[in-house]
Symmetry: C2
Amino acid sequence: MNAPETFPGFALGAWSAQQLATVEQALSRWVAPSDAPAGLGDAMRYAVLDGGKRLRPLLVMAACDAVGGNTQAALRAACAVELIHAYSLVHDDMPCMDNDVLRRGKPTVHVQFGEAQALLAGDALQALAFDLLTPDDGSVDAATQARLCRMLAKAAGYQGMAGGQAIDLASVGKPLDSKQLHEMHRLKTGALLQASVLMGAACGQVSPAAQEALGQYGAAVGLSFQVVDDILDVVADSATLGKTAGKDAAQDKPTFVSLMGLDASRAYAQQLLAQALASLDATGLGNTHALRALADMLVNRAH
Amino acid sequence: MNAPETFPGFALGAWSAQQLATVEQALSRWVAPSDAPAGLGDAMRYAVLDGGKRLRPLLVMAACDAVGGNTQAALRAACAVELIHAYSLVHDDMPCMDNDVLRRGKPTVHVQFGEAQALLAGDALQALAFDLLTPDDGSVDAATQARLCRMLAKAAGYQGMAGGQAIDLASVGKPLDSKQLHEMHRLKTGALLQASVLMGAACGQVSPAAQEALGQYGAAVGLSFQVVDDILDVVADSATLGKTAGKDAAQDKPTFVSLMGLDASRAYAQQLLAQALASLDATGLGNTHALRALADMLVNRAH
């Protein structure tokens, strides 16, 4: 970890702890209160609370910080993005998809609550994401609400995450070339990570040039996240990851490591980090400390 | 069918044909254009196009007519509501839920494309619904976009359709009393039907009193729709329905017919129709012909 050298005067740990406390409290309040019927609320809360690194919410809050945006809007965007991520994990873990039984060190939702309830909980979490983005209490102006819904819908749907999952599904056991692998991850994980950055920025005023540069930062960070995930799947153990390690290789899934090897993957991750930081320089924004430190943390993480 | 007597001067067939032509064309244009990857677009289009009575879109358009609202907004709302309905059918038909193989006279999506693709197609259709509601082309003002997203998210999520499905799931093989059965259907099918009416009205200006009355119309229509569905499940055959008849009884699901008998269910449906029409009178709106005729058609339909 080179964060102390790279980001003098900014303590990512303290900043993250503060943001996470706010995000966790908001998620706990907003995710399926007691009026959710027939165990659905339990499954939704299980899928979202008490686990997860909350990378996407942190990116939203950091981008909002960078533009001095509406923090109430950003908190809603942060939680909405996390709900989309959480629902995708619930559905992705189901037997007809990855058939995984362990997630964040706990039984997956369908193992704990049954497949039907897992399916419904994922569906309800996606709807709740858009519910969170459209409060009726005057805290977020209508133009911001509409913009955030638009960005999240595109990042989650066939042009984004769901589209990437479809490519993933079709690619098991098939060789993907570098271009195809990049395209899959640009959609599957990259779109939502990039949207996290852009949604945070959309909570404030941002010039077209700064938005473009933030989009490039988000793309580089999103891609680096996946490269590092592929590396960790090979080098880390299940206990450290909180999920089944070595799964990609066992399922014969194409990864950056299988395509380019471990050392080249590590170099590529560092190269993407450098790109992300250069993109932040190009935004012209002053307060990009948190975005810088998060990019560094994502690439140099151990789990 | 008593429509000719009850609604002199209004031809539901001609009105519906015109609306449906517009809606079908819009759905065909908006649902997963050719840039959807890896077969996902095919599954999405299969789930939505070339089938379905489009009751919800017709309710949206009729309510927009009643308030003289923005028809471009209403067309988007109509398609968005239909996408939510379509995705719910895809997921509901999956083996872990109802395990149905026939829908609208065709193999269900998971039979045709596999379970994983069906799961993804449903997820992507939900995201697309919110994408449709938030165009970036100036055709719908931001306040309307935000309002429509809010209404749809609540109607689709744990407080609406997904919540009702969770009750449904938990109720198989268990006796439900009348209150519980009403609550299940108020959420499972009623919420989205009612939202169709209210979203159509939200495309224009509507007084709080008229909105309240339209909500009551939507609730009565939504409930009557389910009562009639339960009746048809008993009295119609699969060919007429385009789906497996007698399924509820075979699965030991509680229905209005199993609870109150066939004759009382028929009388109840007519009573709900009368309530719906009385609610329309209470709106004070002039142009409620289409809403009136649709309520009548829903109750007196044969499939």
